[in-house]
Each structure stands twice: as structure tokens, then as C-alpha cells.
């Protein structure tokens, strides 16, 4: 998960992969390729085939239908919003967990991983318990006239929950590794804490952070279970892309499902590729 590690070192340390190919190695390589092919390539191929078989025109029609466009727009808005919020709070949480020592630090540190462990469906259920008709916060939201459940706020909350750990888990190791001495040095040179953060600490964090952002965004775009529980899936209103795909399958509109899936896949894929390219370029600069 470390963004900076891209060295291809062989066992002899020369940087070249070794040339000996024993039978065992051939078998291992074959196994890996078969596994990756089965798990990664075949579904993508099937999806491409399913989306494009009826022709590009049909694909375009499916993608530009009002429902599809609405779903895509909602997904992107939710994804960007969740990413933005989780970057801000993720940075703060990572900072506090690394730099401050307080009672319950370990507990918080463990809880951060909760979204990994808890099924998104359960996360959705928890939100229903909080904001549902008889929920804990129901009276509060009613008093404010705020509609949370089956509307965008609960969908955002669900997305926030499932994508919380990524920024934290990417930033924390970097923060631990750079230590505090550079900052102390900056202080003695006259830099304010704010300036020190932006000029000294942040530049060291940026790659970890960017990696965390792309993972957060990818996760948010693909979220299904939690959002399904809390959105109500109203066509054109609270239907995200993944819910749209799900409904299309239900309606036996396979073309619509494949097309939307392809669009989502392309977005996520280009996100990750963009990261790789950026990383390469900065590594060359170093």
C-alpha cells in the first residue's frame, strides 16, 4: 500500500529479474496468470462484451438515458463529497492518532478499521436505527425539518462510513515515519505551526494522501450495500449508479446494466492509472 515502493528488485539485488526458469517457476507464473485471468480479466471482458455487443449506438443510448445520467451524477456528487469530507477528517484523525497520546487512543485506532470489518449492509442498518422513524435522532431531525433517511444525507453518511479508513490508513504510516524533528526544526527557524504544516509536513504526506484519496473515491463510487439500505432507491432521485445497475438486472435490461458498469469501471480504472502515472513522474523528479 506504500505509494513510493515501485522498485523491481530481483533476489540478486541488481534490479534485473533473473533469467533462470525452472519448471517450478514456470508453474508458479502459469498459476498466477490463470488466477488473475479468471478473477480479473474474464469479468472485464464479459462486461465489455455485454456492453458493446449491441453496438456503440445502443451503448450510448443506454448511458445517456435520463435515469442513467441522474444516477451517475448522484454517484459522482456523493463520491466527491464523501472524499472531500473524509480527507479533512481523515487527516485530522491520523494526525491525532500519531501525534497525541490520550486515553482511549488505541481504542479509536482499532475502531477506525471498523468499516473494513462491518458489512456495508449492517452499516446501513445502523443508520436506519439512528434516523428511522423510531430512531435515536428522529426527534432531532424532525424538529429541524430535515429528511435524512431515504434522502441524500443518509446516503452521504453511509458512503462516509464505508470509505473512512482509507485516508487514515494511508497517511498514518507516513506521518509516523517522517517523525517530528523536521517540524521542530521549522519551528525554531521561525515558522508558525500552520506554515510548518503546509510547507514541511504536507509535502511529505501528499503521496500517501493522494493514494488514500483515490482509494476513498473508488470505494465511494462503488458503494452498494449501505446505500441500498438507506436510499430507498427511488428512480431519478435516490438511485446511484450501482443501484441503477441492480434495478436494470431486475428489469432484465442487461444492456443498461452492462453499460453503466462499464462507465463505472472506466472511471475507477482511470483513477488508479492516473495515480500510477503521477507517482512515476514524481519519482523520476527525485
Amino acid at each position: 500500500m506504500q505509494p513510493r515502493e515501485s522498485g523491481r528488485l530481483s533476489a540478486d539485488g541488481t534490479g534485473r529479474r533473473h533469467q533462470r526458469h525452472s519448471l517450478g517457476e514456470w508453474l508458479l507464473v502459469g498459476l498466477v496468470l490463470a488466477y488473475a485471468g479468471l478473477l480479473l480479466v474474464a469479468p472485464i471482458a464479459a462486461m465489455l462484451h455485454g456492453a458493446l455487443r449491441p453496438g456503440l449506438g445502443a451503448f450510448w443510448n443506454e448511458v445517456s438515458s435520463p435515469d442513467a445520467l441522474n444516477a451517475l451524477k448522484l454517484t459522482i456528487v456523493l463520491g466527491l463529497g464523501a472524499t472531500f469530507i473524509n480527507v479533512a477528517f481523515g487527516l485530522a484523525i491520523a494526525w491525532v492518532l500519531v501525534r497525541d497520546d490520550f486515553r482511549g487512543r488505541k481504542l479509536v485506532n482499532g475502531l477506525v478499521d471498523l468499516p473494513f470489518a462491518v458489512s456495508p449492509v449492517i452499516a446501513g442498518l445502523m443508520l436506519i436505527l439512528l434516523f428511522g422513524r423510531e430512531g435515536w435522532f428522529a426527534s432531532l431531525t424532525d424538529a429541524l425539518g430535515l429528511r435524512v433517511l431515504f434522502a441524500w444525507p443518509s446516503m452521504l453518511l453511509a458512503t462516509l462510513f464505508v470509505s473512512l479508513p482509507f485516508v487514515i490508513r494511508e497517511v498514518m504510516p507516513v506521518l509516523t515515519q517522517i517523525g517530528i524533528q523536521q517540524e521542530l526544526a521549522a519551528y525554531t527557524m521561525g515558522a508558525s505551526p500552520w506554515r510548518t504544516f503546509w510547507c514541511v509536513t504536507f509535502p511529505s504526506l501528499r503521496w500517501g494522501l493522494l493514494y488514500g484519496i483515490s482509494l476513498t473515491l473508488a470505494r465511494a463510487l462503488g458503494e452498494f450495500g449501505a446505500v441500498l439500505m438507506v436510499s430507498g432507491g427511488m428512480r431519478g432521485l435516490t438511485e446511484t449508479s450501482t443501484l441503477y445497475i441492480f434495478r436494470c438486472l431486475d428489469d432484465r435490461n442487461y444492456g443498461g446494466a452492462y453499460s453503466m458498469a462499464l462507465v463505472l469501471a472506466v472511471i475507477s480504472f482511470s483513477l488508479l492509472m492516473g495515480m500510477e502515472v503521477l507517482k512515476k513522474r514524481t519519482e523520476q523528479r527525485r
Binding site: Q181, Q182, L184, Y187, T188, M189, G190, P203, S204, R286
Partner: protein, 635 residues
Amino acid sequence: MSIVLKQIAKRYGSHVIVDDLCLEVQDGEFFILLGASGSGKTTVLRIIAGLTRADSGRILLHERDVTDLAPQRREIGLVFQNYSIFRHMTVTENIEFGLKLRKLPRNERTRRRQELLDLVGLSGMGDRLPGQLSGGQQQRVALARALAYRPKVLLLDEPFGALDVKIRGQLRRSLRRIQEKSGVTTILVTHDQEEAFELADRIGVIERGRLLEVGPVEQLYFRPRTSFVATFLGAGTVVVGQVSEGKARFGELSLTLPDEIAAEENRRVQLLARPEQVILSDDPRGPGVVSLGQGRVIEEFFAGSHRKVRLRLPRLPGTRQLAPQPPFGEKSLLVDAVVSSSESLSGRRRFVGLRDYHILEAPPRRLLVLAPEGRGSGSASPLVRWLIRKLDASAIRLTVLEVTEAGAKEPKVEARAKTGNGGLEIRTRKGRLVSEVMAELQESLYDMVVVEAPPEKRFFSGAYGDGPELIDRLLKGSDLPVLILKGERERLDRLMICTAGGEPGKQDVKEGGWLARRLAIPVVLFHAVRREFESGPLTRAHLERAAATLHSLDLEVDIRLREAESVARAILEEARNSESDLIVVGRHFPRSRIFAGEDVTRQVISAADRPVLVIAVEEWRLEIPDVSAGSGPKL
């Protein structure tokens, strides 16, 4: 005055890190704070920099009180041990960082940066990133960066610690040159004596948060005032003697007392001779102002430009050797010297003389006497009064601690020196007995604790108030010798040192011997043998060495050996038989495996009807010579 520290104190919890430290550093001076790791030196530096807040005291930089200022506003330059230069900035950006903060115009910045790159010898490397520089070069950048904005004070925290020896030497020379050129007042913190000798205008030696001695390098090396500095800084021979008829007496040697030491009879003094002050000669009337007699070279090390030799000489009667630390069982005088490397002296006999020497005052041992609970010091038992009378020489400083219930408005700690009873100090603390005693031991340095045991026999049950708990805590929570007074004795006439049950017991012998020497009473050396554990020859060798150590303290020694099933019972019986008034036993730390099932120490304390002196035995410490005494720098 560039840097003034006034009574700086810092503690974490009850742990004292810096204790009432005062220091003045002159303009343009290169000052080195030298201390072992954990001595508090780095904390002092961080307090000056403003990175750590002192609990009390003031910090003045160039007559400006900066105690409450943030580090940003103190105008200091700081270089850490680890390369703290900004990893994502080029050398140029690093150096200009402080200048940009001060909004210097670009051409000014460029000029200053060029100047500094030249100064630290990195011209032409401005575009490099830290990853492309060696460790030494990175530290040069850190130095240039810290100097760029012309700070008023430069602080360096073991700047060469992470570098290899050769680079270290080069950097040291350039640092000295750069410091002289820039004229900036500098404090460097290090544990490396060589570094301190080479760089410092003045050195301050810090130990356990206390600044022991400050002075020019040569003064600290040749004429230290404290025993710690004499043994910590460099190698040398240190022997303890005493003042007699206005002279410093070390056996037959009678030397003129320096003016700063009062010619008080029996005051203890130390003789310090550095290796290069020792002259070896074939002629009994060889050169040198003082002759120590004839000795044999027992150790020799080739050190390139010279040879280090150690000689064994007949002991100076009535003296005790501190350095080089005598091995257990050694009763001769050991003297370190340096000779030319061209000729080996191994095994030869030579007359030993001193070209020069230094006499310093021996530090007094500090004893803490705990006044019995609720009674105050006035009603101390006859034995305590006898001990106070007997020990209250110039060599020992006694403090009596009274702990009383906390009163809301009164000061928590009160100290008053009682005059007329020779420097006896009485301190009063308010609060719970156990915690206040432990706090007192943390705050001041003591060498021994004297506590009166409560009359109850069942000691460790905890059913009798604070008394037994206190002894329990003293045994577990401090590594000081604890003298537990039991029974109805009014004086001590004989002391029994136990080296029982296979324990090494070297520390018992040393500490017990010290007390017997101060009280001028004879010693019984007792060894309880457990057949299944011990080998006869080893035991005898051990006892012989113990006896030799005691003889070297001029003590009368009576050796007793006895087979026993229960070691504790044997100790108690032998104490009765030999009419010993005090039992000296070792106490093992919990990790010791020797007494896993049977805690002899506790059995003895619980069952004894006479005083017991408990000595901490740290197994590892016995094998590894104390770092602070002896092993000095390469000469």
C-alpha cells in the same frame, strides 16, 4: 551574556530530569554540555530552544527573557542528531527556508545562500535533494540552514552522533572553524568526551539533571572539583585519603593541601593523577615530585601513538581506590600510565612517580534517616543517635526526614539545617509516609537510607500501618542500601557480612566494608554453604577475594563458613554466635533466579532481632565495570 539559565527545573511525574540548573554562556563562546545518556542534557537544550517547557526557572537570551516565548520567537538555530533537513526540498530551498520566512529579497537570499554553501563546503550542490547527499553533507546543510538567518544562539544536539568516525573528525574541525568565523554563541550537547575536548571553550558536566562542574577543558581535566568529573572525564588514578595535621595524607604520602580545601582534621580528600602525569623509571629516586614506590606492569595496550599500561603497586595504607575501579579481591594499588609506543613494558618492574597531581575534596556520603512515624527526630532511638554521632564527620552528610500529616496551608517540604550538630539537616514533608519518602529519594541524591523498623514481627503482611509497607517499597523501589534498625541496641560493635547461598555478594562486601570502616568496627565474613549447590574451591576463592577487599579497607576480618539447610536460619544463628550487631545481606531484584523459591533477604529481615543492612545486588552490574568510573577516552 548570550545565554543565561536561572534555576531551571523539569520533571516528568516524580522523575527529576533537570534539577535547579544555572548556567551562563558568554558571547561567542563554544560551550559543551557533556553527560552520559539519560543525564538530562538534551532536555536542557530543548528547554533553551523552547521545544520543552521548564517547570520553573528563567531563560535569558541576550538579556531578553524568553521563558514564555514560543520557539519561533527565540531566534535560535537548532541542529538535531538525526538529519532533520526537509526531505522534499533541495539544499537551496532548505537553506533559504528561514530567510523566506523573514521575507528577505531574492538577491539577498541568493547571496546569503552562496556564502553559507561556501562556508560549509557544499558550493555547487544547491540543486541536490537530501536523498542525493551523504550523511555528513546532510548535517552540513542542517548547519547552514540553522545559521542562514543569523540566529543569536546556535544549539546542536549530538550533531555528529549518527556519522562514522572519520566524517565526524572532519565535521568537528569545520564546525569549530565555522563557529569561530560566524562568532555565534553555541551550545553543543554530547556524550563524547573527545568531541568535548576538541571543540569546547568551556565544558559543563551534567549528571542526573545537575550541572556538576563548569570550566575550561584543561581545568576540568587536570583540576576537577568533584569526584564524578575526575572519574567521568578521561582516565586516571583516584585514591581516597584524608586530611591529617594540615596535610593530605595518602598512606605514607603527605601532600600539601590546596588552598580551596579547608584543613579540617579527618576530612576526606582524593588524589587524582592522570596517566600522562605518571612517570615510570628504573631509578628509585626517579623524576617526579611524588614517589608511589615500585610496581609491575600488569596490563598493556598498544594504542598507536602510545601505549597504555596499568601497574600494580603495594597499597597505600589507610586509602581506598576509586579509579581505575579495582576488581573484586584486588588489594594492591593500580596505577594507569602512558608510555611511548616503541617499547613494550609488559611484566616489567618500574618505579612509579608523579610529575604532577591534583587533590580534591571527596564527596560526602549522604544518609537519609527516616524519623519514626509520628514521633519526630527528637525522640530518635539511642542507636540512631549513636549512628548520628559516630557518622557525623565531614565525610558524611546526614538528613533526617520527618513526614507528618498534610496541613492545607503549610509548605509541603520544609528544610532547616540544624546547627550545633555539625551539618545535620532536618527536612519535613507533609503527606503519606510511603509516597513522601519515595519522593524525597527521587528529589535528592542519597547513598543510604536508615529506617527504624516497627516493633511488629510480621513484616510484610501489611497489617501494621505504613511501616512495613515502607520497608517493602524501599526494598523494591530503590537500589540504595537500606539499614533497618531492629532490636534494642545502643551501639554497634561488630558487623557480619553474609555472602550466602551462592550469590556473588560483591556489593555487600563493598558497602558493608564501607560502613564498618566508618564505624571502625571489626567484620565477620560469613558464608552459608548449601551442599547441593556449591563447589568448595570456588567458594574458598570467593571468600579469599572478599577478605582481600575488606583488608584493603583496613578492616579486621574473621571468616566463618558453615553448612546449612536453611540459609536464613544459619545467618541468624551465626549472628548470635559471633555477637554481631548488624547483619549485611544482599537483596536480589525480582528477575534473579537464584532465590526463586526462597527469599532469604525477607526471612532474615522478618526474623532478625538486630539491625539488618540490605544491599541491592544487580547481577549484571557486578560483571560490567561502572561506566562512569574508569574507562576514559582514548588519550
